[in-house]
């Protein structure tokens, strides 16, 4: 596996100068949990405004936070999944600032002592593998939502999200291109979905990121001044924002200017980043340990107990698929990147050929799901029926081509392929006598072509095969047709 290296596949060129982009991400992942980080309110998405708010979430006088142990376990699990150091002692701090959707006037977060320390994730890129360092993971509360576009005069506040547990996962500045960012987010999401610690649903805001971008002349050791692009909520927008921002910075440097460290916002409509506040205007959050909460402490045994609950993760599964099923790294990657896909695959290959299964899942099935915009968990064809279809191909009952027709018919109500073949009479014609009859018919009807063939135009062989397939409605066994035809045309 490669070490973090100077990947020169993505560089910005200007006036003969090559620039490298340096990217670090702060990903905010919503902890998958029934209730909030410090209260018992539910966390369900899409509920009526202000229906999932307790007195604690709304910061009523005298209300106190109580840690939800489940969220702690989820953070530890995620830390283990990111190959990270789990800290036996961590501290919840108050991050103080005023905003209408922040009822306490502070966010409970972790500042100097996070629950999870350094770790790493492996990216599988077309150019090979690359390790991205994880700086830390800490737990914090989400804020509520300010809604500016319902009332013409007032801002309305929805506190349903207020107090929901987030994991902030901070990467090292190891990412070098929009493609790597794409791979990194997908890898994080994959790991957390395997662990069941975050559903990774970006539309619902379960996963969003602050993106730190700087540029430097290719080959330089020192990092350039970075800008932080706040709260980007899709991979596409992250990539667009990075491209825009990196080019903006290169333009400034090429003009002899200097980058100001600042916080910027990405305008998705105009595809540009805009200054939000400069370093001088940065908030002074006055972090200090939350006196309402004791330091969070647990022993190694506690971590060990959680480790036992960790399922096989994408990297391990990939290694197993390659080792056990002789799949290529590329195929294995596709099959393990999503937990449900890997489960589906393993279900299919229980009774079927591995290679065919892999091809059919990543080919026909993915195309079908794509077309219908479905997740594999909602697949119109069950693993067991796909497995049966593959067996029909394998044992020669149907040809690969017919199988595609059967597959299409199966997708309407998850039909059993054996029934489909029977009902539609799609069974492959493998009786040599019957095939001979068909072949003779084709030869008789095309005597001119037979002459041409025999005089040396051997390319016409394919024409005869095609004609036979046509008269058999595609059911003729292509292998046998080939053999018999060769004999007859001698």
């Amino acid at each position: 596996m490669d070490e973090v290296s100077k990947d020169d596949s993505y560089l910005i060129e200007r006036n003969g100068n090559k620039y490298e982009i340096v990217i670090g991400l702060e990903v905010h992942a919503q902890v998958l949990s029934e209730s909030k980080l410090f209260s018992t309110s539910p966390t369900k998405f899409g509920a009526e405004p202000n229906t999932q708010v307790s007195l604690v979430d709304a910061a009523f006088p005298g209300m106190l936070p109580v840690i939800n142990e489940f969220c702690i376990k989820q953070a530890i699990k995620t830390g283990i999944g990111l190959n990270s150091k789990i800290n036996n002692k961590s501290i919840f701090d108050r991050k103080n600032y005023f905003y209408a959707d922040l009822p306490q006037g502070y966010q409970i977060s972790q500042y100097k002592d996070p629950i999870v320390g350094e770790g790493s994730v492996v990216l599988d890129l077309t150019s090979g593998s690359k390790i991205i360092g994880i700086e830390r993971l800490h737990l914090e509360q989400d804020a509520g939502k300010s809604i500016h576009d319902i009332d013409p005069v007032n801002t309305l506040v929805d506190l349903n999200r207020s107090g929901v547990a987030l994991m902030e996962i901070v990467s090292k500045p190891d990412l070098r291109s929009p493609e790597e960012v794409n791979a990194y987010i997908k890898k994080l999401r994959s790991i957390m979905r395997y662990l069941g610690t975050c559903d990774g649903n970006m539309q619902e805001g379960s996963l969003r990121a602050d993106v730190n971008v700087s540029v430097r002349k290719h080959g330089d050791d020192k990092y350039g001044t970075r800008c932080e692009i706040k709260n980007v909520n899709s991979i596409k927008f992250m990539q667009m924002a990075i491209e825009y921002e990196a080019n903006r910075q290169v333009d400034i440097l090429e003009d002899g200017g200097k980058i100001d460290q600042e916080t910027r916002l990405f305008d998705t409509k105009k595809n540009e980043t805009r200054s939000m506040r400069s370093k001088e205007d940065a908030h002074d959050y006055r972090y200090f340990p939350d006196p309402d909460l004791l330091p969070l402490e647990f022993d190694n045994n506690y971590i060990e107990q959680i480790k036992k609950q960790i399922p096989e993760l994408p990297d391990q599964k990939k290694a197993r698929f390659i080792e056990k099923f002789n799949l290529s790294s590329y195929e294995a990657n596709i099959l393990v990147s999503d937990l449900d896909t890997s489960k589906y695959f393993e279900e299919v290959i229980k009774n079927s050929d591995v290679k065919l299964s892999s091809n059919w899942i990543t080919g026909e099935l993915f195309a079908l799901l794509n077309e219908k915009n479905l997740e594999i968990s909602e697949s119109p064809i069950s693993a067991i029926n796909l497995s049966k279809l593959i067996n029909l191909i394998k044992d020669g009952t149907i040809s690969g081509k017919i199988a595609k027709t059967v597959f299409e018919l199966m997708s309407d109500g998850d039909k059993n392929p054996i029934d489909v073949v029977k009902d539609k009479g799609l069974k492959q014609q493998s009786d040599p006598k019957e095939l001979e009859k068909l072949i003779e018919k084709v030869i008789n009807e095309n005597q001119d072509k037979v002459k041409e063939y025999k005089s040396g135009k051997e390319k016409l062989f394919g024409f005869f095969v095609g004609q036979v397939m046509k008269v058999s409605s595609g059911k003729a066994n292509p292998k046998l047709v080939n053999e018999i035809l060769k004999n007859k045309l001698k």
Partner: protein, 485 residues
């Protein structure tokens, strides 16, 4: 039965249990007296009608197994009380009615007590004279223009004036013990973690602790027994086996070692206080205790570090009072304008002063020099006590450096006001229990208190020491009902 108000809590409970007296009679007597005592300004909110109704309900279906059967109690207006206005004596909460009950008050009602009303205090418990309240200052029943102390000034005044048989307060830097000392009553600050902070308007979370103000030590033990509980709604609540403090109360303190910290002999301490402290030592000796000189070397840093830690926490705790969700709001042109107007008009000067101090000491660039350093000092102060308690069972100090002062005397001099907490503050910083008992009068006839400091969760021990001293001191204070109308 005008004598009802003179019956101390413990006997009152016996009388009710023995059916010598009804809850309604008791409640009526206190209400009648409270109504005639408006001059003291000790109540923020009276719930007299509700109390009378509840007392009748109790009498019609009495449960004499309760520890406070049908006993009417007025409480500091810092405890959230369900459906009863709770203001923390601040304009910013002057219309706030909680939908919930604090754990400590709930514990009282669970044992049969009845709410008489909410008592005045310093705004958000910030003050030592009850002069910072939005509802005006409280007057001590001891003298016309005397402060009752603070921040639980309404509680101390109401108790001393016999407007309630017992009461509860909160103590962040002395807010129970100092007013108790000023009014000749007994004030107990329990160990941090003994009484739940759930539902108490927060001032400084790492220091706040609820406790009783009572007429004598036995009542204090009974009240603590009811108030203290483990509460999973407060993460700093401590789960320990809570003794039956009143049942286990004993005057047997023979052989106990009592420490006298030399650092508490501060510059300019009056002879009266010096004498009081000496008398205290003698009382203890007479009870068979042994006096040991000890040192608490970091004492002089306690007050400055307290006035960093407490405002720091307060500046953050009070951020929620922003006009958005509840309480007072002044309209503004935009969000920031609304915040500024609401908070400028909603908070009083002392609260603003502490928010500014707290904001300053937490600011980047100052954090290490102030907040972090203060936390280190706090650790040293704790260590001082730990070392001392290797040698002694309890520590005796004066409760305050002087007796009660006149209204207005210190209100323009915050530092001199803060110095009033010099003997009480270290106890909060160390999270220890401390009790102030009335121990004498100064030349003007104003009460002076002695403080007994114990090991963490050793309330029984300091109650026992106080109980035996109380017997020897035999404190008498003749309060004339000069304010009554």
């Amino acid at each position: 039965m005008s004598d009802i108000i003179n019956i101390n809590l413990f006997e009152l409970v016996s009388n009710i249990k023995d059916k010598k007296i009804s809850s309604n009679e008791v409640t009526s007597a206190y209400i009648e007296r409270s109504k005639k005592s408006k001059h003291l300004n000790s109540y923020n909110e009276e719930t007299f009608d509700l109390a009378l109704k509840k007392s009748k309900e109790f009498d019609s279906k009495p449960d004499f197994n309760k520890k406070l059967p049908g006993v009417p109690i007025a409480v500091k207006d810092l405890f959230c009380t369900k459906n009863v206005k709770t203001t923390a004596s601040s304009k910013i909460l002057n219309n706030f009615v909680p939908t919930y009950e604090s754990t400590v008050t709930q514990n009282l009602w669970n044992e049969g007590a009845i709410l008489l009303g909410k008592l005045n205090c310093d705004e958000f418990a910030m003050g030592s004279s009850n002069e910072t309240s939005f509802f005006g200052n409280v007057i001590s029943p001891i003298d016309k223009d005397l402060v009752p102390g603070g921040s639980s000034g309404g509680s101390a005044s109401a108790l001393a004036a016999k407007l309630t048989p017992t009461t509860i307060g909160t103590d962040t830097g002395g807010s129970i013990r100092q007013p108790a000392s000023f009014t000749g009553t007994v004030g107990l600050k329990p160990t941090y973690g003994s009484c739940s902070r759930y539902g108490i308007v927060a001032f400084a979370s790492s220091l706040d602790q609820a406790g009783p103000l009572t007429r004598n030590v036995k009542d204090s033990a009974l009240m603590l027994e009811v108030m203290s509980s483990f509460d999973n709604k407060d993460s700093t609540s401590v789960d320990f086996i809570r003794p039956q403090y009143s049942k286990d109360l004993s005057k047997e303190i023979k052989g106990k070692k009592i420490g006298i910290p030399k650092e508490y002999r501060v510059d300019g301490m009056s002879e009266e206080i010096e004498k009081l402290w000496n008398d205290g030592k003698n009382y203890l000796k007479n009870c068979g205790a042994e006096i040991v000189d000890i040192s608490l070397p970091h004492t002089k840093f306690a007050l400055p570090s307290y006035y960093i830690v407490a405002p720091a926490e307060a500046s953050s705790n009070l951020a929620r009072y922003d006009g958005v969700k509840y309480g007072f709001r002044t309209k503004g042109d935009n969000l920031v304008d609304m915040y500024e107007k609401t908070r400028s008009e909603g908070f009083g000067d002392e609260v603003k002063r502490r928010i500014m101090i707290g904001t300053y000491v937490l600011s980047s660039g100052y954090y290490d020099a102030y907040y972090l350093k203060a936390q280190k000092v706090r650790r040293l102060i704790k260590n001082d006590f730990n070392d001392a308690f290797k040698k002694v069972d309890a520590i005796l100090t004066p409760s305050t450096p002087s007796s009660a002062f006149k209204i207005g005397d210190k209100s323009n001099d915050p530092v001199s006001m803060y110095l009033n907490d010099i003997f009480t503050v270290p106890v909060n910083l160390a999270g220890l229990p401390g009790i102030s008992i009335p121990a004498g009068l100064d030349k003007k006839g104003y009460p002076l208190g002695l403080q007994i400091i114990g090991k963490a969760f050793d309330e029984q021990n300091i109650l026992n020491i106080a109980y035996s001293m109380e017997d020897k001191i035999n404190f008498k204070l003749d309060i004339k009902d000069w304010w009554m109308k």
